[in-house]
């Protein structure tokens, strides 16, 4: 028994099932783009929090260890005199070696002169005036360089933002392609059911009723396709994240998607379904306005 929803019997048509596959594939693409952008943006936020208030001062490498130690002491004095700085510690040679290891490998570094590093922390809520600090360091220690990692972080954040823009463009392109495919399929369906559509008109159906029939059929196909596509995309993202972090090949921590991230990915099928239904509805209204 057919309910009030199926006057045209569209749910029986096999001719338009391919639309579920197209929408599924497009949803997979959107999910991957969105997942990548969300991970990078989460990583950016985490790094920004990690580097918040961290300041590193580098004293250049020198053959004369005693002279370098004196410079470190002078730099520490400058740093500790800054009211915005809570504490400042010189990192030992072992720690500096450990930090450089990823770049220099495990070669014995004892013979090499290394730059000395000072790790300083800003007071909570206080802002260190980096140019002023650098000027004071210049006056006290030749060659000392203060760095709050802002430039490096800004570079990464710009990358995350770019990924966000790419994801947005991919999602928009995917939505347009989905709307186009559904529009094409809907026009074919309208031609196929032309007689039944005429009959519906003759028994008093408004164009909106007929458009609703096609929108409902498109919605059903798009929901099935996009749910599968987004699910496949989510699996790919989870596996890719697990592989990337397990191999230890990443030089930085890549946080897994959080709840909000997964929720955003859940919006992909919802959006795809809405786009498909709206496209079918608008296509039918436009086509019917041209006939009779």
């Amino acid at each position: 028994m057919t309910g009030p929803g199926g006057a045209l019997g569209l749910e029986r048509d096999r001719e338009r099932r391919w639309i579920a596959g197209v929408i599924g594939t497009l949803s997979l693409l959107a999910t991957l783009a969105l997942g990548l952008a969300l991970s990078l943006s989460a990583a950016g936020a985490q790094w920004r929090a990690d580097f918040e208030g961290i300041l590193t001062v580098e004293i250049p490498a020198e053959d004369d260890a005693a002279a370098q130690a004196a410079k470190v002491a002078a730099a520490l004095a400058v740093l500790r005199a800054d009211p915005a700085i809570e504490r400042a510690e010189a990192l030992g040679r072992a720690r500096a070696q450990a930090l450089l290891a990823p770049w220099l490998g495990q070669t014995p570094l004892d013979a090499l002169p290394l730059p000395a590093l000072i790790d300083a922390r800003a007071r909570k809520g206080a802002k260190v005036d980096l140019p002023a600090l650098q000027a004071r360091l210049d006056a006290a220690v030749a060659g000392a360089r203060a760095d709050d990692h802002a430039r490096w972080l800004a570079g990464f954040l710009a990358l995350a933002r770019a990924a966000g823009i790419v994801a947005f463009v991919v999602t928009a392109a995917v939505a347009i392609a989905a709307a186009g495919a559904v529009g094409f399929a809907t026009r074919a369906g309208l031609a196929m059911h032309r007689e039944a559509v005429d009959l519906l008109h003759l028994v008093g159906a408004a164009d909106s009723y007929i458009a609703g029939q096609f929108a409902r059929a498109a919605l059903r196909l798009a929901l099935a396709g996009s749910a599968l596509g987004a699910l496949a995309g989510a699996v790919v993202l989870a596996v890719a994240h697990a592989v990337a972090t397990a191999s230890g090949a990443l030089a930085f921590p890549l946080p897994a998607l959080d709840l909000a991230g997964w929720a955003a990915i859940g919006l992909v099928p919802a959006g795809a379904t809405a786009v498909a239904a709206a496209s079918a509805y608008a296509t039918v209204l436009r086509a019917l306005a041209r006939i009779v």
Binding site: M1, T2, G3, P4, G6, A7, L8, G9, R12, E195, A196, D198, L199, L200, H201, L202, V203, G204, A205, A206, D207, Y209, A289, V292
Partner: protein, 223 residues
């Protein structure tokens, strides 16, 4: 209710299949429309149920000139018109009950109420035990009665029937005719196109006769 004034109709670039057709159907009347095959009966009726607009002349329906109607005006007017098509035009993928319910469903009218009403009508036309059948499994006469039930379910002000007794035996034809007269007594204006001249002769209702696209002078006192 309906006024035709010097109406002409042609299909595409073809010849006029209706020429200078003028008549009026007063509210509450019942008319037969007769004429040889190809005389233009179905064409004339299609103007009445708003499937086409006349090529020339004016058609007035419920006091409105059809030429002045906007697309959005059609559904409301068509809901006041019930049509039994010569070729039935049942939807094969819908059950008999759903076919009959269609005119109400497209208006978004409540399901349980519609089902009940459709079932009653089907009992009335003698198809009470075919509610769940599908049209392809029905005989011509059965399809015709489904089409009639569908035409009347919306309680139309104007009922248009194209050969409604063409596929049934005389006994059912008489019964269907009584059904139409009953509806007419309740106030429905009715036009019945038919080849069945005996049906027309036995009835006290007026006849409009089409001859090759023109209306012959009214017989039996038609307006």
């Amino acid at each position: 209710m309906v006024i035709f004034e010097r109406v002409g109709l042609r299909y595409g670039l073809g010849p006029e299949v209706l020429r200078d057709v003028s008549f009026a159907l007063p509210p509450g009347s019942l008319h037969f429309l007769t004429g040889a095959s190809g005389a233009g009966k179905s064409s004339l009726l299609s103007l009445l149920y708003l499937a086409r607009r006349p090529s020339r002349g004016t058609v007035q329906l419920f006091g409105r000139d059809v030429a002045g109607l906007a697309r959005a005006d059609f559904p409301a007017l068509r809901r006041q018109i019930g049509v039994v098509f010569q070729d039935f035009r049942l939807l094969d993928h819908l059950s008999v009950l759903d076919n009959v319910a269609l005119p109400l469903r497209v208006q978004g009218i409540d399901d349980a109420q519609v089902r009940e009403h459709a079932a009653e009508l089907l009992v009335w036309v003698g198809l009470g035990d075919h509610l769940d059948a599908f049209p392809p499994t029905l005989s011509g006469g059965q399809k015709q009665r489904v089409a009639i039930a569908r035409a009347v379910i919306g309680r139309p002000r104007l009922l248009i029937a194209d050969e409604p007794t063409g596929n049934v035996d005389d006994r059912i034809a008489v019964r269907l005719m009584r059904l139409f007269e009953e509806l007419n007594r309740l106030g429905t204006t009715i036009v019945i196109a038919t080849h069945n001249l005996q049906l027309v002769r036995e009835s006290r209702h007026p006849e409009l006769r089409l001859e090759a696209g023109t209306l012959a002078r009214a017989v039996k006192g038609a307006a």
